[in-house]
Symmetry: C2
Subunit: 221 residues, 2 copies
């Protein structure tokens, strides 16, 4: 029974995904033809259907692959000892150090998620996983006394994820965008949030002309 070794099969599949990623990042999902992908992958028009059911399946495959990649990167970060160093490392490895085309792909996937149920679910799963890992980092650091703030960890994780989104978006919008230059600011704003006590005081009705350095964040529940 001549079945191709599953290793070879996986290799071909990965190669097609790589090609699809390049094409999607370059021209977008809808402007990329299957022929483009096949040309990029060096295969014929029909061959891709041996490995993927449809063009949509290619996007799903890409999301799943990236989810696994980021999951691994975050897991590695969970091992680190220093919280802020870990966070900055996460920023580097999960956002800034990723090649530029990943940023374009991110925009493409978010757009596609809007109309493709399955892509939306993959993306939501990826996002949930990422944020819960971040929240876990925060809670562990608190339990070990390395963090003092009291704001809900989930919400802080959401803020961090959003900063990552924003960096991706900017990178996609402008190839000359210098995300690295913003790292100190990003880290500073995260530090400010992490240090906030969980006070429930409503924000002041009017702003006094001169304020103390940092005021507390009165979040909704």
């Amino acid at each position: 029974m001549p079945r191709i070794t599953s290793l070879r099969h996986a290799e071909r599949q990965a190669n097609i995904l790589r090609s699809a990623e390049v094409c999607f990042a370059r021209s977008g999902f809808h402007r990329t033809t299957m022929q483009d992908i096949c040309r990029e992958a060096g295969i014929s028009a029909g061959a891709v259907y041996v490995y993927f059911d449809s063009k949509e399946a290619l996007i799903e495959g890409l999301v799943a692959r990236d989810r696994d990649e980021i999951g691994e990167a975050l897991a590695r970060i969970g091992e680190a000892e220093d919280f802020f160093a870990a966070l900055e490392a996460a920023l580097q490895s999960c956002v800034l150090d990723r090649p530029a085309h990943k940023a374009s792909l991110f925009v493409e996937i978010v757009a596609e998620a809007h109309r493709n149920q399955r892509v939306a679910q993959s993306l939501a799963g990826c996002d949930r996983q990422l944020r819960s890992m971040l929240a876990g980092l925060i809670e562990r650091a608190r339990a070990e006394g390395r963090l003092s703030g009291g704001l809900p960890a989930e919400r802080l994780a959401m803020m961090m994820a959003m900063l990552g989104d924003a960096l991706f978006i900017r990178r996609a919008m402008d190839p000359a965008f210098d995300g690295q230059a913003l790292v100190p600011m990003l880290m500073a704003s995260i530090r400010a949030l992490l240090d906030e006590p969980e006070t429930a005081a409503p924000r002041p009705a009017a702003m006094p002309p001169r304020r103390p350095r940092v005021r507390s964040v009165a979040g909704a529940a």
Copy 2:
């Protein structure tokens, strides 16, 4: 000479743009057919070409319209007296209070900008305008002694714009996303950044186990 009054012409044009916006936000640019837009606008298939040269021209029209809208909103904000109140108002009116389909449209436009030169230029222009207005707000507040920090205004404006992007993205990704709940955190992180002095000290090599409340941001030049 029976030419339609230019008022009527502008009305029809705006109506078509509105319809296109709804359709693009619902199904995305490439999955929306001209028929969809015409049906939504209540006109026939060919009529749209009296007002717009092509489907692409519709997107360009939408970007131009939104740029003008946001420009007006920001101009109004420039008039405000209290800096942080103005900033929070900008957050509300330019991001949170905009209808949900604007968030979807934003993602769609960023994706489209990636492959359409003219859309990219419109978007970049819109973005530049927004950020320079924000930077102007900061510099004015500093000149009047209402702000003490010293980080570059352009970079701070970039951070603020990115937070706006991030809110839009999240709204587009998840209709249940509660941006309002994050406002206190967003404002707190912005306050922390605005209060930073322009020190150039490099970030500490290793993190001490217990840190003071806020540390300074050592940006690149």
